[in-house]
């Protein structure tokens, strides 16, 4: 019997290696796999490359992982926000690398990795400093830059429901980056608010099919998110 549901965070994090590229879902707090990030802090892997839309907030979660010196590089679209204090400190001190990527390009680069497309062209960033060093090319009279697939060793995603085959659904705007990250990593770990019996999810309305998911763990996010 296929059973991707794990019972402990230690099992969920097993085998994550130093030097991994870790894709972390969420858009701000929404759809962010908080408990998996905490578990990764606990697990100990270091020298990580983290891919996330934001560069952490306050001194918890991703910010804490960075503050502990475990993140070598961050790839994101929006590093600078009111609460990104840890990132700012580390970055100014030259203790963390940054690759800034337009948000849509970041999503598409991961979707490409998941879909077996090593590179694609986009008009986004043409004529800007973010196009520096990128190959440019004209199609039908318009200029485009070539972007490469962005693959993860690990993806940490947050979902609303999950079953033992790894099928996931997302709630509302909590979907965001999670489905593209799930398909772009070798090891995808999902924290879900609700475990469902196999067959309970409507086949037409599975948002991430289990083929993209390796481990599922139940996390009660508390009354505000219930």
């Amino acid at each position: 019997m296929i059973n991707k549901i794990v019972q402990s965070m230690a099992d969920a994090m097993a085998g994550i290696k130093d030097g991994s590229t870790v894709l972390i879902g969420g858009f701000g707090a929404v759809g962010q796999p908080d408990q998996l990030i905490e578990a990764l802090i606990e697990q100990g892997a270091k020298d990580l490359v983290c891919v996330a839309n934001n560069a952490g907030n306050g001194r918890v979660g991703l910010a804490k992982l960075m503050e502990l010196g475990r993140v070598r590089k961050i790839i994101c679209s929006f590093p600078r926000s009111a609460g990104s204090v840890v990132f700012e400190e580390l970055y100014r001190a030259g203790k963390i690398e940054l690759e800034i990527v337009p948000q849509g390009t970041m999503a598409e680069r991961m979707r490409a990795a998941g879909a077996g497309v090593p590179a694609f062209f986009t008009a986004t960033s043409v004529g800007t400093i973010l196009a520096h060093g990128k190959e440019e090319r004209e199609f039908n009279g318009r200029r485009y830059v070539m972007e490469h697939a962005l693959k993860g060793d690990v993806a940490l995603v947050e979902a609303w429901e999950g079953d033992r085959w790894g099928n996931l659904t997302y709630r509302s705007s909590g979907r965001n980056f999670n489905p593209v990250m799930a398909m772009a990593a070798d090891l995808t770990i999902a924290q879900v608010s609700h475990i469902r019996e196999l067959g309970e999810l409507v086949p037409e309305n599975v948002h991430t099919p289990g083929i993209f998911v390796n481990r599922v763990i139940h996390v009660d996010r508390g009354p505000a998110w219930a």
């Binding site: 849509g104 008009a123 986004t124 960033s125 593209v180």
Partner: protein, 213 residues
């Protein structure tokens, strides 16, 4: 010179959005535009975090923690709205399916260049978010911003001094002093001035020639 206040600017822009358009509103003043499109005029608001058919902010006691806009503020979903993932959401943007994007800006140049994400080449960790995708992808890009900086320097300029977000993308600019089309080969063309202002007054705080239609 005062002209419109921020609400007045947002209301003025909102007048020009016809029913049926799909519109993405940036963070800041652009977000306020939504408040001035009456619900009975069906304009479909898109948010790049995967929302199509976004509605206004909820009452304080009706906030849904799962439902935020691109500025991470609580919002609602209108009947007919739907959710999608980030790659699908930006496919809508990059694929030219968004009728209008409204962004704020540091500067807009007479050729339609927009700079709105980094304040200098030395700003080594600027936050680009979805601005470049929206600038390059939407069918039309309108900017809404104050006409000058806080210390009085023009924001409509001959050439942007700040790093570009997207070259030659802006079609129209709404400021506290008026509305200006960006016409290829010509530059800024006055559509409308705020009540009581003359072309000369507005030209005096604009960094590029203002043409009349």
């Amino acid at each position: 010179m005062q002209g419109f206040d921020r609400k007045g600017m947002a209301a003025r822009l909102a007048q020009d959005i016809p029913e049926g358009w799909i519109v993405n509103l940036g963070i800041g003043i652009p977000t306020m535009v939504g408040d001035y499109v009456p619900l009975e005029r069906e304009v479909i608001f898109h948010s790049e975090n995967g929302i199509l058919g976004m509605g206004p902010a909820p009452a304080a006691d009706k906030v849904d923690p799962w439902l935020v806009n691109a500025g991470k503020q609580p919002v609602t979903l209108r009947p007919g709205g739907s959710y999608c993932h980030h790659a699908d959401s930006f496919a809508m943007i990059r694929g030219g399916h968004i009728d209008l994007c409204v962004l704020g800006a540091f500067e807009v140049a007479a050729n339609g260049d927009i700079a709105n994400w980094a304040t200098s080449e030395n700003d080594t960790a600027p936050a680009v978010g979805g601005a470049m995708d929206l600038g390059a992808g939407a069918k039309r890009l309108w900017v809404i911003m104050e006409h000058t900086t806080k210390d009085g320097r023009p924001k409509l300029v001959e050439q942007c001094g700040y790093p570009l977000t997207t070259p030659a993308a802006v079609k129209r600019v709404y400021t506290n002093l008026g509305v200006f089309d960006v016409v290829p080969g010509k530059g800024f063309v006055v559509v409308d001035l705020a009540p009581g202002l003359t072309l000369e007054q507005v030209q005096s705080v604009t960094g590029a020639p203002l043409h009349t239609q």
